[in-house]
């Protein structure tokens, strides 16, 4: 591992090169910075993020792409990191929840989730916010129905859906179509 996004990366995880598996060199952009990793290219992005790179904001929820807890942005589009092989992010751009705020300024969606209580336990929140970022990117002024449709595959067990929709509407209004 040549680079980590922040100092929180644990010192425990050195580059691991299992003898019985393929080791690939994967280069991609992560939270606006270039990354080069020597890893087995078939490993899921989710676990590379959470262990090798120490970015624990991306959560495991179901491991099969149903729930959306592990959502990241891949070339600006919401993508399930549990189903994505690390070799498939080669030369692409990945944004995790840790990389959404720019220059210490929260993204309008992050602010809106705070202001509208779009969270309870907070576990689904990173995936919710990144899915909403992607939704507004491709549809800056969604109707309530379009928001529901766009968020449908992200699960929140606490029942914060009402507030999440309000937060997305507020953020869309604040962003005024800016992508």
């Amino acid at each position: 591992m040549l680079w980590t996004t922040n100092s929180q990366a644990s010192s425990t995880n050195s580059v691991l090169e299992p003898e019985d598996s393929m080791t690939n060199t994967i280069s991609f952009k992560l939270n606006d910075k270039p990354v080069r990793l020597k890893v087995d290219g078939d490993r899921p992005l989710l676990w590379v993020l959470r262990t090798d790179l120490g970015l624990t904001g991306t959560k495991y929820g179901c491991g099969e792409g149903h729930c959306g807890s592990c959502t990241v942005l891949l070339n600006q589009r919401a993508t399930r990191s549990c189903l994505l092989k690390i070799k498939d992010v080669m030369d692409k751009e990945v944004v995790t929840i840790e990389g959404l705020a720019k220059d210490g300024k929260l993204h309008p969606l992050q602010k809106a989730f705070m202001e509208h209580d779009g969270l309870q336990c907070g576990y689904c929140t990173p995936g919710m916010i990144l899915t909403a970022v992607s939704l507004l990117k491709f549809n800056p002024q969604p109707t309530e129905q379009q928001i529901n449709k766009g968020m449908e595959q992200n699960f929140c067990r606490c029942g914060a859906q009402v507030r999440i929709v309000q937060a997305i509407q507020a953020a869309a209004a604040e962003m005024k179509g800016a992508r």
């Binding site: 691991l16 991306t58 859906q161």
Partner: protein
Amino acid sequence: MNTNDYLAANFRDIHGFEDFYTQSRREFFKRAGGGILIFVALNDLLFGQEEAGRPRGGRPGLPSDFNAFLRIGEDGRVTCLTGKIEMGQGPITSLPQMLAEELETPLDTVDIIMGDTDLCPWDMGTFGSMTTRMFGPALRAAAAEAKVVLLELAADSLKVPQTQLVAKDGIIFDQKNQKNRVTYGQLAKGQKIERHLQAKPALKDPTQFKIAGKPHTRRDAEVKVTGKAHYAADIRVPGMLYARILRPPAHGAKLKNVDTAPARQIAGVQVVQDGDLVAVLHELPDVAETALRKIKAEFDVPEATVDDKNIFDHLLSVAPEPNILKQGGDLDEGKKLAAKKFESTYLNSYVAHSAMETHAALAQIEGDKATVWASTQNPFGARDQIAQAIGFPAEKVRVITPFVGGGFGGKTNNAEAVEAARLAKAAGKPVQVMWTREEEFFYDTFRPAAVVKINSGVDGSGKMAFWDYDVFFAGDRGAQQFYIVPNHRTAAHGGGWGGTRGSHPFATGAWRAPGNNTNTFARESHIDIMAAGAGIDPVEFRLNNLSDARMARVLKSAADHFGWTPAKAPSKRGYGVACGIDAGTYVAAIAEVVVDAAKGTVQVKRVVCAQDMGVVINPEGATIQMEGCITMGLGYALTEEVHFKCGRVLDTNYDTYEIPRFSWVPKIETVLIENNETAPQGGGEPAIILMGALIANAIHDATGARMFQLPMTPDRVKTALQKV
């Protein structure tokens, strides 16, 4: 110690976390330095309900006669230490609000440390909507007592009689000379005061609240929207390994033989076998998973015939004798009085907790001390279970609870924490266990399947004449009848949620408002059947049979807000009503649904919910909990059901077990009834109890079809429609 570090240490920054938690408790108190410490025992203050019948788990090295304490530091910051945990329900905000209110200090000077068994006083656990109603008064009392101490100190310091002093915003001043003032921090300086609360101090009248009772943004919001909030599986310590555990194919299966050699061929894999516990450990969780798949194992699977279809017959056949909860009048007399009689049986399936965070724990053993970070609702229970499993004394086990990613009653068993500790001990390295979603569906302590049988009758004037109620395996919570009925009997067969031996095919346990979802579904469906049978509007029928003014007010409030106009059901409008009591809180709701008769699907369009929960500490938080209850309750009402056969749980992920989604959520309108005469009551659970009957009654109003089984799946709705 600068108490800012507490928040950082607990929740905000992983380095702070590590630094902080290497301290011993002794070190903590040494570094805590001077200040004022206030201890409160719930029992002394008659708040002991929470501990009724439970042995007190003493905190090693500290007196066991208190449940809460707070400290005012020399820098004026106030720290609250509590064994309660934050799992989304909001005490990280509401408890400091209460404390700040009574202590007359700004909210941002209050820090809170939660769920650390070495630092916080013993606590039974976070469940039963008890944090605000049971623990809250104790914390407020501690804060009020602290204010008394501060006023005594200020009287000395300012040379002014106490009666002349005013405490406000962390400052005490002489009301005759406001320049003669002293801050809480100045008063605490050089002090080493310990005060044990003896008498219940006077608490503020809720109408005087300035901080509590007002909406506040959650204190954990920023860390949760930036990914900085740490849950148990996010904790990293040097040298840690990730475990994947060999699981049986069915409940009750026993390991016959196992070949772990193929797993060991993967570089870096360590295999642990400790009795039935077989696990592979690796520096990377996904490699551990790959290694686990290479293990060859054979299990003896016991013969089992119970499945999700025949479970109700099975439960009735093994049901214990009834425990009569309440009876009065004469049922035979009531039957004579009845102009119309009604007999129904209601069924409830097993339901999963399905928190988005699966059970997770990290265990680290250093010398003779074990530290376990766990996603648990009862850290002290976890501590004792871990201590027993690894043969350590309880004081040598420390459980730290980071943020918990949803609990709903499902994070009280602590099996994953015990597994992590056993594996860490066996491997000699820190070990993380994080259950997969499949393990979560297998090892959950499900909400028990249950049966309710009701016989009842209505006289010629629309009054209830008799009520004979038997609940099997859901317990008594919510079973008590609150309508007026002269001749009645209410009985529970099988008390708690754990069932009796031979009853449930897997573990069962408390699920958000345990028992009450089942009991309220049955009671409120049956009340509706009687109203329809008597040809009376369902709201009017309920009001006619209520003498409890609090309930009548809640129901009228919901009806008024909804714009209810009387009609007997089925009116084809798709309107349903339900009432209930849970955790001391009264709730009533009215819903509007649309039924697609061809598909059997139900869309809930609108829910109006009124709630009387006594004094409201955080109205925004209470409203959010109501919305959460209504949304989560759509699941057990419409889709959620654990499928199983012969000890195997057939649902392994969300492809077959459907939880509520965005498009299901109705327009939700909530009404909080002002009631400052009643102490704060539970808020995290009450509204969810209504959802089964509320939707069942609305389906009946829309179509004339009566639903007797939860969940009301499309197939069941279509079957019921055929009977209309």
